[in-house]
Symmetry: C2
Subunit: 277 residues, 2 copies
């Protein structure tokens, strides 16, 4: 029984996020642009249409139609706010500013296109390549995590220091990391795969999950980890690469990391050790 | 750095669900009781308090404090609505009726206690052991899936018939099913572990995910699958056990199944074959 395209719209609303008053205008405007574009995309296009691959992104992975709709809206917002943009599909767009917006327009694209209610807008404001502010918006609920570098946040990580029995979110196992994945998974007390790094690292920041990791598949790009690099340390946690490589705001989006976000540095190190075996 | 118990409350609201007008009063009342109890529990108790094991449930697994708070509220609701109750922790409570409410008071208990925003109330109304109506409420958003047996629903499964490349949700791998888990996971195009069977099967019903399965670990109880047994077929899909055992509304909650919910019977059978190997 196949019911056809007329029933494949995602029916749920995309709520307006309640942004803190202190969010920088360029970041707030980009978030609102993303929310509005995603809401419109779901209203006008079916799931198969949203998921259609329309181009190859600057990160070397295919761009879905829904990605391009949301990123176009953000690019317009960045231009009118006169900030540069570093984004998954478009790469680096120079608008002649010392400020750059580093964004994942639609983190969890597959979820966003299929209706799995786990996708985010995530952005960092960087001045002269130094992050100053970050925000992740869970598009399906309007929940917002925001932090400015050097200021404390209202949320805190769980404070956990040990992997055995921890609540861990992972990327799915891939061909190149089955053993590493299994080593981390078998020691975790709880295990989740949500398919949205930005939400999973926000859950680490707020203390709902102890750690998130790409267990050695080298899948993550800087746009996936940018917000976590601000949000998680601001809440008492740590973000590292399993292989100890520095996490740079590099315009070359083909660079990849096995990122780990954890409640504490001690836990991040234990996850890295488990990945390396 | 450990910040202590004062910061471990779950800060997000628990919204009021918008129930369809045609929901039976006993089921609607139980849902509202669950929502109110869970909301109060999050306001009054920290994450570690919610997760504390306070008893052994009728299903043979430990009962968390948050489970008991929500189930107590539902039991009170069932009594005042003069229906029997079959529930995870309490087992069967005979209130002298031909109608029984079969509920999972708090599906995704670990998520619910830790703040991972993926937990549900899920209930089925059965008359003389025949299901007549089912509803799942996603507690963190108020989203509701409801169906009455013999009536069509507004949502439809994806209609997918093949496992290779499908979007699949799984229980996490356990000691007794590593190979089966790997066989299903390696054929899936997308893979999720959300830790809430009721939400994952609702996502199958609405066409956001193609299939959900316990890949052979025999973990699922009838209360985990009860709502799916109504919601998924009403939307064009199928719910089976991997080993072909009948899924009965049996008051013996120690019985377990490797349940599969899929967009079509053909896909459910393919998932079962992959599990059995």
């Amino acid at each position: 029984m196949f019911y056809g395209a007329e029933v494949t719209f995602i029916p749920w609303p995309v709520p307006e996020p309640l942004l803190p008053a202190s969010v920088s205008p360029a970041l707030a405007d980009a978030a609102h642009a993303a929310v509005t574009a995603y809401r419109t995309a779901r209203r006008l296009h079916t799931r198969p249409q949203l998921a259609e691959e329309v181009a190859m992104g600057a990160d070397g992975t295919p761009t879905m139609f829904v990605d391009s709709l949301v990123e176009d809206a953000i690019a317009e917002s960045a231009q009118s706010n006169r900030v540069n943009l570093l984004s998954e599909e478009a790469g680096f767009i120079d608008n002649g500013s010392s400020t750059t917006l580093v964004v994942d327009p639609l983190d969890g694209s597959s979820n966003a296109a299929s209706g799995v209610p786990l996708s985010c807008f995530s952005g960092v404001l960087a001045r002269d390549s130094i992050a100053v502010e970050a925000m992740t918006v869970w598009l399906d609920t309007g929940r917002v995590w925001w932090a400015r570098v050097g200021q404390s946040t209202s949320y805190r990580t769980s404070g956990r220091t040990t992997l055995d029995g921890a609540a861990v979110s992972l990327l799915r196992p891939k061909r190149n990391n089955g053993d590493s994945w299994q080593r981390v998974a078998s020691r975790a007390g709880r295990l989740r795969i949500l398919g949205t790094t930005c939400l999973e690292t926000a859950l680490v920041a707020e203390g709902s999950v102890d750690a998130f990791a790409d267990p050695g598949s080298d899948t993550l790009r800087i746009v996936d980890l940018a917000a976590a690099l601000v949000l998680v340390p601001a809440a008492g946690g740590a973000v590292i690469d399993a292989n100890g490589r520095p996490l740079d705001f590099d315009p070359d989006l083909t660079r990849r990391w096995s990122g780990i976000a954890a409640a504490t540095s001690a836990l991040a190190d234990q996850v890295a050790e488990a990945i390396l075996g």
